[in-house]
């Protein structure tokens, strides 16, 4: 098994997120992550879904039912921005454990750093580079970034820093 550098893993995650954004045909933020989960690409049809739950233990978690169908179980009372980020983060767990994800070999590369990978993937899915670059080009700044992309404040700050490092 090839050793993968963090930068290489992030490149892979950016492009996986990009594939889903292109599938959605998103031209403007915010990226409709819940629509993706409810109407996934055919190859992921059995792996994505959303189930609202009452829970105080976690914000969201991905699980497979005995019939192997996967769903993200998400706290019903989460604020919208937290809900979007939690769903996007758990989406990577769904991809990694899906039949297609396993056929791609995603577990071997992403499982060792799954939590960090899931959070990075979520930031990239909710704020894809092309949309962030367009926002910056139009003079958008850090202050309104979270609101424009519908991100929780700490996530917006982290994503803005990532983007600034690239520019």
């Amino acid at each position: 098994m090839t050793l993968i550098a963090p930068e290489e893993r992030r490149w892979l995650l950016r492009n996986l997120a990009l594939g889903l954004v292109e599938y959605l045909g998103v031209a403007e933020p915010p990226v409709p992550v819940e629509a993706l989960l409810r109407h996934p690409p055919g190859v992921l049809q059995e792996d994505l879904g959303v189930v609202d739950m009452y829970s105080n233990l976690w914000d969201a978690t991905f699980a497979r039912l005995p019939d192997q169908r996967g769903s993200i179980f998400v706290r019903i009372d989460l604020p919208s921005r937290d809900r979007r980020f939690a769903l996007a983060r758990e989406l990577l767990r769904a991809l990694v454990t899906s039949e297609h994800g396993r056929a791609m070999g995603l577990p071997e590369i992403l499982v060792p750093e799954l939590q960090e990978s899931a959070e990075y993937f979520a930031r990239q899915l909710l704020a894809p580079e092309a949309l962030v670059a367009a926002y910056r080009k139009r003079g958008g700044g850090a202050a309104q970034f979270g609101e424009r992309f519908d991100l929780p404040a700490p996530v917006a700050a982290s994503r803005w820093e990532d983007s600034a490092a690239l520019n």
């Binding site: 098994m1 892979l12 594939g19 889903l20 690409p41 190859v43 056929a103 791609m104």
Partner: protein, 96 residues
């Protein structure tokens, strides 16, 4: 341009199983032929050995990045200019 093509291919692979199937069948070159890889780069990618599509993608990333890295050339001063940029000016000051 090649990196853009690779990005597009990897992005496509998460929603289009035909990419992963082509990798598994050993027919990925048919897909690479439709993308904007140079002949040399396509040949290099055909030589990449990987157990899985994701591993191939990362190794392809290394290959394309290495191919796109700018060639570093030493910039030596011309012997006609002398070794010190201010050598000519120093000489004039001395004469004055």
């Amino acid at each position: 341009m090649s990196m853009q093509a690779l990005n597009h291919l990897v992005a496509r692979s998460i929603v289009d199983p035909s990419v992963v199937q082509a990798f598994g069948n050993g027919t990925l070159d048919d897909i690479l032929a439709d993308l904007s890889f140079s002949g040399d780069l396509r040949a290099s990618l055909a030589d990449v050995q990987a157990d899985t599509w994701a591993e191939f993608a990362v190794l392809a990333y290394r290959t394309v990045r290495a191919a796109e890295a700018p060639v570093i050339r030493f910039q030596l001063p011309s012997p006609l200019e002398g070794l010190r940029p201010d050598a000519g000016m120093a000489g004039r000051e001395q004469v004055a």
